[in-house]
């Protein structure tokens, strides 16, 4: 790290923010997705519309929320609607361009597990469960997923599919008839993975600067496909870094402790 003037988490958040465009309506998960989406809003995409599942539409939080329903989200939103309304009229109604999700575990076809590790009836680890993610993954125009890469998170086989990516690949998702296209980018602390247009298998298409292919392979629980024309991410610009760090500093002050990435 000593040769770089930014952390791998900062690289991940900055690269994730870059995926969002100006007029996108983005349904945002709490934590890493929220950090990236707000960084986008504060840098290149001021017109972006952020929706949180607590019913806040057009939220412009000054500090990142700790929970999905912090008062800061309501105070800065254009409007606050009920939870049945946010899921029925806005998400199921087809008004969301991008769903931005985190995940506990992901497989090679971008399916997500946030339910259990081990047997459902007698789990080794009980995770929080579905929340809004299954319907975001199914119905948003496209889905971005952000998580740190490790063998525990990038697994060969999920014990439980909470939110669907491309199931077992090929046209399996298309056959489900879901309205949304599915995951189009997985942004990690090591690089960016993109589903193959035919097989839908996640392929490493972009490496963050200073990261080696060996590192990425070691942090992936399956034999990772590497794109022939692998690109290298642009390092975080000074304005991106300054804005992200100021956002985290405001968050730290607001919550009385340092925030996440």
């Amino acid at each position: 790290m000593s040769t770089l003037d930014y952390t791998t988490d900062e690289m991940m958040t900055v690269e994730a923010a870059r995926q969002l465009g100006g007029g996108d309506v983005c349904f945002v998960g709490i934590g890493l997705p929220s950090a990236a989406a707000n960084l986008a809003r504060l840098t290149h995409a001021p017109e972006i519309v952020l929706i949180y599942e607590s019913g806040t539409i057009g939220a412009e939080p000054d500090a990142l929320p700790l929970s999905i329903g912090d008062g800061e989200l309501a105070n800065t939103a254009l409007t606050v609607v009920s939870v049945p309304e946010i899921f029925r009229y806005w998400l199921q109604g087809g008004r969301v361009d991008v769903g931005f999700l985190g995940a506990a575990q992901i497989d090679r076809f971008a399916n997500i597990n946030t339910t259990v590790v081990g047997d459902y009836a007698k789990p080794r680890v009980r995770l929080p469960g579905a929340g809004g993610a299954p319907e975001i993954a199914g119905q948003a125009g496209q889905v971005f997923i952000i998580l740190r890469q490790s063998p525990k998170a990038f697994v060969q086989k999920l014990d439980f599919i909470t939110s669907v990516g491309y199931l077992d690949g090929g046209d399996a998702r298309a056959r489900l008839g879901l309205p949304g296209r599915g995951p189009t980018k997985v942004i990690t602390d090591l690089g960016v993975l993109t589903p193959d247009p035919e097989t839908r298998e996640l392929t490493l298409t972009q490496l963050h600067p200073g990261v080696t292919l060996e590192q990425v392979k070691a942090q992936t629980g399956w034999s990772l496909k590497i794109a022939a024309n692998l690109s290298i991410s642009e390092p975080p610009g000074s304005s991106e870094l300054r804005t992200l760090r100021a956002l985290h500093e405001r968050t730290r002050l607001a919550h009385g402790r340092e925030g996440g990435a």
Partner: protein
């Protein structure tokens, strides 16, 4: 018509052992005071329902009050696991906990169906996921017009809904604003409803717009005035979310003995929620000094 009464009387009158109980609140206006009172009165064999079980459900589960949990996301938001919930599911401590799991979109729609007097909710959901495999109550239904396959999920119709709101008037009409979650639907879906409020005023119509969320007194069983009753969650316009406490809860709940000690000292041995809040303030002053 709702009766205005002390919270202890409301719980004693309207919450019975074995009831299905929805203490709703989506991060905002979580009825912590009512949850504490249910624990203090030793209610048991409850079916707890909530989209986002958090600290107060961790407490009810850890104290063995629940037989079953119906939910869609169980965690300490932004912090991590609910350790008492996990201990109950992973190790059946202090007793086995049956779970019925859905997704948010489903629970929100199923409360709305319950409030609408319908037997089930219809929504576009779950295709390709393992959730219906874990919950056989989630079924599929064909649209009679297009043949599209949709998810059907049974309505949520709790015996008792418990919510916290900002204001009531002296007749027991209730006003709430800010992040609303599914509280209106939960009250209208339930057989009985208890509402705790920050304050009781003569008339709130002067400062509420015509389309403000108001629950008329005749859909509420009891109103109890409990200032601060949502803490450590928040009441918009009254006090902020105590994020530091949510972080502190992680250490308290991680260990069974630490948890039980905290519950004894802060819930079982307190008279009411005002006593609990006073203890928290004294504890904090002690730490600050």
């Amino acid at each position: 018509m709702a009766k205005i009464m002390p919270l202890s009387e409301a719980v004693a009158t309207f919450v019975r052992d074995g009831d299905s109980l929805a203490l709703e609140g989506f991060t905002h206006l979580i009825p912590h005071a009512a949850g504490h009172e249910i624990i203090r009165q030793g209610r048991k064999d409850l079916t707890l329902i909530r989209m986002t079980p958090d600290l107060i459900y961790d407490q009810l589960i850890g104290m063995g009050a629940a037989r079953k949990l119906v939910f869609s996301w169980g965690g300490n938001p932004g912090v991590g696991s609910l350790h008492r919930f996990r201990d109950a599911v992973e190790h059946s401590w202090p007793r086995p906990l049956e779970i019925e799991e859905r997704a948010h979109a489903d629970m929100a729609s199923s409360y709305a169906a319950g409030a609408s007097g319908l037997p089930f909710a219809v929504l576009r959901a779950y295709a390709g996921t393992d959730i219906p495999r874990s919950n056989p109550k989630i079924r599929q239904i064909a649209c009679p017009f297009t043949g599209e396959m949709l998810a059907a999920s049974p309505s949520i119709r709790p015996d008792v809904a418990v919510i916290h709101a900002q204001k009531a008037d002296r007749k027991g009409n209730v006003l709430l604003w800010g992040i609303l979650g599914v509280q209106k639907e939960a009250v209208l879906a339930a057989k009985r409803a208890i509402v705790t409020v920050e304050e009781v005023v003569d008339d709130f119509r002067v400062d509420a717009a015509h389309n403000a969320v108001i629950l008329p007194t005749w859909v509420v069983s009891a109103v109890a005035c409990v200032p601060g009753g949502a803490a450590p969650s928040y009441a918009h316009g009254y006090y902020a979310r105590d994020n530091a406490f949510y972080k502190k809860w992680d250490a308290i709940a991680r260990d069974r003995e630490t948890f039980l000690d905290w519950m004894r000292e802060n819930v079982l041995e307190t008279r009411d929620f005002a006593d609990f809040l006073a203890r928290q303030t004294r504890g904090r002053a002690h730490v600050d000094a």
